[in-house]
């Protein structure tokens, strides 16, 4: 069983102890009911934030639901930390990690969950990618597009695994651009031979005017480095030089696995813990954990 599976199982186990994950009947929560549930939230019960967040997260992928679920997990985390409830805090962190929008964010939150609650195990994959895995195929396909071998690359690019593998490391827009380039190549003039017959000198050849003897899309330094970054990431290649890391966009700040970092990271004010009059406000002192 992989670490990730163990982590999920732990989260699930925790959730099975929740009094209710969804509203009665397990359907979507009505706006009125949601308002009631939100109004009932109090920092004295961090578990309530987590329960509601889980329910919203399980219901679907509507952006508003997900944003609210994320806020509830953050508040569950901060109020649980204040109450020194490590189980709730760890669970909230783990839930946040499963909603992460990037691999880095997911690893950061999962590491924090382990920091908070040492019963949560590592979610790192236990095996390294094998030679014939989709990530390697995706990396090779990108190189082929760059080399103008669009026809061969398309076999990989059109597979669902390709897009899935690439999405971890880049945007849909970039993937679409790559697909466009794959369709444009090989060179329509020389078919990647680099040379074409010279009409002015019978029997002689000249460089292909379309690809200038170099089939494949023309790239600026930045575009080429972005290709290489994604290829390297797919193959788990790490550059040693700082310049290369910088060029590959690996200069993101290192965040401490510190729960106090989470609320600022998601731009959520942790003091606004109560839902009153359809907005988040600071709770009256009586509700705050002493």
């Amino acid at each position: 069983m992989t670490g990730r599976a163990i982590a999920s199982l732990l989260a699930l186990l925790w959730c099975s102890t929740c009094p209710a994950q969804t509203d009665a009947g397990g359907g979507a929560i009505s706006p009125e009911r949601l308002g009631e549930r939100l109004s009932a939230l109090t920092p004295a019960s961090p578990a309530m934030y987590l329960e509601l967040g889980e329910e919203l997260g399980a219901m679907g992928s509507a952006p508003d639901d997900l944003a609210l679920a994320r806020r509830l997990f953050v508040l569950a985390l901060t109020t649980a930390i204040d109450a020194d409830n490590r189980a709730i805090a760890g669970g909230a962190c783990l839930a946040l990690s499963q909603m992460a929008e990037s691999d880095r964010e997911r690893r950061w939150l999962a590491a924090m969950a382990r920091e908070i609650d040492d019963r949560i195990r590592s979610d790192r994959p236990e095996t390294t990618p094998e030679g014939d895995d989709p990530e390697l195929e995706a990396s090779l396909a990108i190189t082929r597009v760059r080399a103008g071998e669009g026809r061969i690359a398309r076999r990989t690019i059109e597979s669902p695994e390709f897009r899935r593998a690439l999405r971890v490391h880049t945007t849909d827009a970039w993937i679409s651009r790559l697909e466009d380039e794959a369709r444009r190549w090989p060179c329509p003039e020389c078919r990647n031979d680099r040379f074409v017959p010279d009409p002015e000198r019978p029997g002689a050849q000249r460089l292909c005017a379309t690809c200038a003897g170099n089939p494949g899309p023309a790239s600026t330094r930045g575009e080429l480095l972005e290709h290489l970054r994604i290829e390297a990431a797919l193959m788990g290649v790490e550059a040693d030089s700082w310049a290369a890391q910088l060029a590959m966009g690996r200069d993101e700040p290192l965040r401490d696995a510190d729960p106090r970092e989470v609320a600022p990271y998601f731009s959520i004010d942790p003091k606004l813990t109560c839902w009153r009059d359809n907005r988040w406000v600071a709770c009256p002192e009586a509700e705050v954990v002493p």
Binding site: R104, L207, W242
Partner: protein, 935 residues
């Protein structure tokens, strides 16, 4: 053949080298002695003094100088014979000035065969110019004639050695020790040559002619006796010299070729021989021959013999080097330099590799086996090991040393200079050796006599450099004091070392004691004993009976006593340390202003480099390495960001791209034309190919036919392999690379990494692809704006290496990725120091365990070498925070505030580079607090 100089010539030569008084006539005048009661030691001392005068003369290297030296040996030989001395004394001395009968040696009955042999041995050694085969054979033959065994010879020679060997006497100064005098015997071994020999000695015109005749007759008789002996020995030596030399050289050769070679054959030859095993060939050399003039002379003689009998000469060299290694601590610096340069000249004069190996083994003999922790430290080995360490270092820096000798030296140095610098001279090599051997002695529990030899070596190395001496002694004391339970015999060693420190003249010792008191790891019981000794012996001014330490004192009581001592001794801040702190404050202030200014990531990161150097300066100043600190601070102030200017518009572009590819395409029908096209490309001046040319060339190099064309293409491809387009072309082909050795080599050349092709499953192509991806990214990145970052990372690495105490010229590994490790070591050092001070005061909310836990958590998240460095760098910051709070009471608030600001800055940073700068700035702020100059 030159004629022997006549008497008048000799007198004029003597006058030239030793002054007119010496040329007045007679052995006493020649040696600068007054006729009368003289001991052998005085005679030999006088001879040595004269030798030194000749050596100092501008014509010291001429045959004339050798002539005068010979006269001195002859005169010494005459005077060492009591009978001749008595007669000569009567001849040259004042009336009534009579030499007494020779004193008997303790333990020997006058006139016994042993005593006679001792005198004859001294005579022979003096006559034959020192310890050599001739004198040895002569002594052995006399002994044999008198029915004495070779053991008797060995005993006699050891007795002579003991009699002459300078012994350390309590109360002696180093110079007194060196010259063999003591406060109780103000008569030096040799009278000063400028002093008149004797006021009682008659002037030549005052001497009665008849008396002069009698004296002359007696003198002639005396000289005749000596001459006979010399002639006998000379004839004996001449007749047998060639035969024996040939035999000896053959034997030496046989030793070196027929028998299995040990790790260090020279060392075996130099091991002391037990009396029962002693033979004339392997006898321990008389120690009095370890005196500087004679050693230098012997080295030169050995060098002269190199051409004629190299093995014999090397044996002689090995013996002299053994003596030098044993006795160098008693030499003056100029004498040691002369002897060491004699060793270098000898080694430089060797023509044969085998002989050079043997000679070098002899030089390194003292160092052999010291890397074996099981080896016991013999007191006699200590000085020799340190000399070997110094001499090997000196030899190692010779730029024209061949590889075999370099490897041999490195092997020999293993035990005394692990990881030592390659540009170290004798002094620094010997200092490092002394540290290493001292540490071995601490761990091996060496006895007091070994430590005394170590202190003698430290005295010799620290002559004129009290700081160095104090550093060496205090380092060993730190090691000896570590641990609460005093080990047997350790207290005596601590006493010896602590009393050897300069408590009165140099404040380094006082500073050390104050620090040791504050260090929890220093044994209370041993510190208490050490302070008691200082008080009892009034060694350190200002310490009185109220300033002793209870063996059960708490750390608080120790801090209080340290504080009292610091006040008593007025241990204020050194000016240089204060200046370093001021520089740090200015650099930190300027870095803060730079960070606040808008600018790109690379410009802002320059502040991190300046701060890293400034922090290294603070650390070095704290260690009182002020010169290094000043250099680091200078680097900080002078640092300017260097931007890359190699950026080309087209990342893969080259000159006239495609033109060559087209020419090759046109020649594709004829192999000769293809070869010629490849040759034309190979001769191109510009080494950057564009993608069309690079991809064409790569295709030919991988799959071209016939083979001759492919081989040529591979060779041309290697020429252009630094072009990004070439690396890209290989990357495009990586999943289908032919499995041939030249292709693998081409990839290795492009990536700078070896490829493992041991598996047959083609997985090496995946590795090749990874390496090519990495290489192309790095080339393009370095050519771009970010190229400056690598230079900056290298500067930060240098600054961290300085903090760790490595010099910039050192051979410390500088591979990328070493920086996190350097930071880790610095953090561990601070944590160790903080622990020794009792850890952080309550209220800081930081403990070593907490720092380590956070470090692990950060490292788990770090996914680049920049982030790994940051994770370790933050640990440096936190460990320094702990140390500053533990060291200075009452700064926990300031430290806590710096850490809070740092945390805020880390959170708001937009890149890891910002975070690195913020952390370096926090380290600088903590240094200022630690030095009492905080915000």
């Amino acid at each position: 053949m030159s004629a022997a100089p006549g008497n008048s010539d000799r007198a004029s030569l003597t006058s030239m080298f030793l002054g007119q008084d010496a040329a007045r006539g007679g052995p006493f005048a020649l040696l600068g002695l007054r006729p009368g009661e003289l001991t052998d030691a005085q005679i030999l001392g006088a001879r040595d003094q004269r030798m030194r005068e000749i050596d100092a003369h501008r014509l010291a290297e001429t045959p004339e100088a050798d002539e005068v030296r010979l006269s001195l040996y002859a005169a010494t030989a005459q005077l060492l014979n009591p009978a001749i001395r008595r007669q000569l004394s009567e001849s040259w001395g004042a009336p009534g000035d009579r030499a007494p009968a020779p004193e008997a040696r303790p333990g020997l009955s006058p006139g016994s065969p042993e005593q006679l042999l001792e005198h004859d041995a001294i005579l022979a050694l003096a006559m034959f110019g020192g310890w050599n085969q001739r004198s040895l054979r002569h002594i052995a033959s006399i002994a044999h004639a008198r029915g004495l065994s070779s053991q008797d010879v060995a005993r006699t020679l050891r007795r002579i050695g003991r009699q002459r060997r300078p012994r350390r006497v309590v109360g002696q100064t180093p110079i007194q020790r060196r010259t063999g005098t003591s406060p109780a015997s103000p008569v030096a071994g040799a009278p000063r040559p400028a002093t008149p020999v004797s006021l009682l000695e008659p002037l030549p015109e005052q001497i009665d002619p008849a008396q002069r005749l009698i004296k002359m007759a007696l003198l002639v008789a005396g000289v005749a006796v000596v001459t006979l002996v010399v002639l006998f020995a000379g004839v004996y030596a001449v007749v047998s010299a060639d035969r024996q030399r040939a035999e000896a050289d053959r034997a030496a050769m046989a030793d070196d070729t027929d028998t299995p070679r040990s790790e260090n054959p020279g060392a075996q030859r130099l091991r002391p021989v037990a009396p029962s095993q002693a033979t004339p060939r392997t006898l321990p050399a008389p120690e009095f021959l370890g005196d500087p003039a004679l050693v230098t002379h012997e080295l030169e003689s050995a060098r002269r013999g190199l051409e004629l009998a190299p093995y014999e000469s090397t044996r002689r060299f090995a013996r002299v080097v053994g003596l030098l290694a044993e006795s160098w601590v008693t030499y003056r610096p100029d004498e040691l330099e002369a002897a060491n340069s004699g060793v270098e000249v000898y080694l430089a004069s060797i023509g044969s590799h085998d002989v050079a190996r043997l000679a070098l083994d002899a030089v390194g003999a003292g160092a052999v086996g010291l890397d074996d922790p099981a080896r016991a430290i013999d007191p006699e080995d200590v000085g020799a090991a340190i000399w070997s360490a110094g001499m090997l270092a000196e030899l190692r820096r010779n730029p024209v040393l061949d590889a075999t000798r370099r490897q041999q030296i490195d092997r020999l140095r293993r035990g005394v200079a692990p990881g030592g610098r390659r540009d170290a001279d004798f002094a620094s090599g010997a200092v490092l050796g002394a540290y290493v051997i001292g540490e071995r002695m601490v761990s091996a529990g060496a006895d007091l006599s070994a430590w005394r030899r170590w202190v003698e070596a430290v005295d010799a190395l620290g002559r004129g450099d009290e700081s160095l001496r104090t550093d060496m002694l205090s380092s060993m004391l730190d090691a000896l004091l570590a641990g609460e339970e005093p080990r047997e015999g350790r207290a005596e060693v601590v006493r010896e070392l602590s009393l050897a420190m300069s408590w009165r003249r140099h404040e380094g010792a006082r500073r050390w004691l104050v620090l040791a008191l504050n260090r929890e790891s220093a044994s209370r019981a041993m510190l208490a004993g050490l302070i008691e000794n200082l008080v009892r012996e009034s060694a350190a001014q200002g310490l009185d009976a109220t300033m002793t330490l209870d063996p059960n004192a708490t750390m608080r009581e120790r801090h209080a006593l340290a504080q009292r001592m610091a006040e008593t001794w007025r241990l204020g801040r050194d000016d240089r340390a204060a200046s370093a702190v001021q520089d740090l404050a200015e650099i930190a202030g300027s870095a803060e202003r730079d960070r606040a200014r808008p600018g790109d990531a690379i410009s802002s990161f320059g502040a991190a480099v300046r701060l890293a150097y400034a922090n290294a300066g603070a650390s070095l100043a704290r260690q009182e390495r002020f010169e290094d600190a000043a250099r680091a601070l200078e680097s900080a102030a002078a640092y300017r960001t260097q931007r890359s200017n190699r950026q080309a518009a087209d990342p893969l572009g080259g000159v006239d791209d495609g033109r060559w590819a087209l020419a090759y395409q046109a020649a594709s029908d004829s192999p000769d034309a293809r070869l010629s096209a490849l040759d034309r490309l190979g001769k191109r001046m510009n080494d950057r190919l564009g993608p069309a040319d690079a991809e064409t060339l790569t295709m030919v190099a991988l799959r071209g036919a016939p083979r001759q064309v492919r081989d040529r293409a591979q060779s041309v491809a290697a020429r252009f392999i630094a072009s990004p387009a070439m690396v890209n072309a290989l990357l495009e082909q990586a999943d289908d690379l032919p499995a041939s050795a030249p292709v693998v080599q081409l990839v290795e050349l492009a990536t700078g990494r070896p490829l493992d092709r041991s598996s047959n499953d083609g997985s090496w192509r995946l590795d090749a692809r990874r390496d090519l991806l990495r290489a192309l990214t790095e080339i393009l990145a370095r050519e771009g704006e970010g190229g400056a970052i690598d230079l900056m990372a290298s500067e930060i690495e240098s600054a961290y290496a300085l903090t760790l105490g490595q010099s910039e010229s050192e051979d410390a590994p500088r591979a990328e990725g070493q920086l996190p490790e350097a930071a880790r070591l610095i953090a561990l050092r601070y944590l160790r120091e903080a622990r020794s001070l009792g850890g952080a005061p309550p209220g800081l909310g930081l403990s070593p365990g907490e720092i380590e836990r956070k470090r692990r958590s950060r490292l788990a998240l770090a996914d680049s070498s920049m982030q790994r460095f940051l994770a370790e760098q933050i640990s440096v910051c936190e460990s320094l925070a702990l140390l500053a709070s533990a060291e200075r009471g009452g700064v926990a608030g300031e430290v806590g505030s710096i850490l809070e600001t740092h945390t805020r800055e880390l959170r708001s940073a937009t890149s890891v580079l910002d975070q690195i700068t913020a952390t370096e700035l926090a380290i600088a702020r903590l240094w200022l607090v630690r030095e009492g100059a905080g915000p």
